[in-house]
Symmetry: C2
Subunit: 102 residues, 2 copies
């Protein structure tokens, strides 16, 4: 795995970036799924996604770059946390719309 995990602060994310990241249904499903459990309890591989491992990895990278996910390596697994408060402070209401999507 990449030893250097680069994170983007939600404060530094543009609306363009945010909307592009959220415009993909797979990425929104990741966000909804990670929101249902405590921080850093879901590894990337535990998500039920209709795409290959390589594609899933790509989506996690995009979400991290958009300030939506914080990731933490523990052993061979990479755990995720939804940056709910910070992202909501940057784009009020936007994340709520995604999480409320049925």
């Amino acid at each position: 795995m990449a030893r250097t995990l680069v994170h983007t602060e939600p404060a530094d994310v543009t609306l363009q970036q945010a909307l592009e990241a959220l415009a993909d249904p797979v990425r929104r499903s990741i966000l909804r799924e990670v929101s249902t459990e405590p921080d850093f309890t879901r590894a990337c591989g535990t998500f039920d996604l209709p795409v290959s491992k390589a594609t899933a990895s790509h989506h996690f990278t995009v979400l991290r770059a958009a300030g939506l996910l914080e990731q933490l390596d523990r052993g061979p697994r990479r755990y995720n946390r939804l940056r709910r408060a910070e992202f909501d402070a940057r784009f009020p209401g936007l994340l709520d719309l995604v999480l409320a999507e049925n």
Copy 2:
């Protein structure tokens, strides 16, 4: 022009549709520009856009289909109205983020 102007109610718009429509910078600039003046006072051709006439027409169609614009033909011109209240009722806060974009 197409004599039959088909509009989509914001209530019938999916989050996917909304995000896709808003993920384009040209379309967001149209929304911001139309928001600065009274309803049905801006014709499609009066917007300052960095694209051709054909492309601009396409963007207006997308915005109308996403429940963001209502259009009205008067003479040879097509006037626009931002469906602010209705769209905000469907996706609270989303349009505000776009209009607040500097």
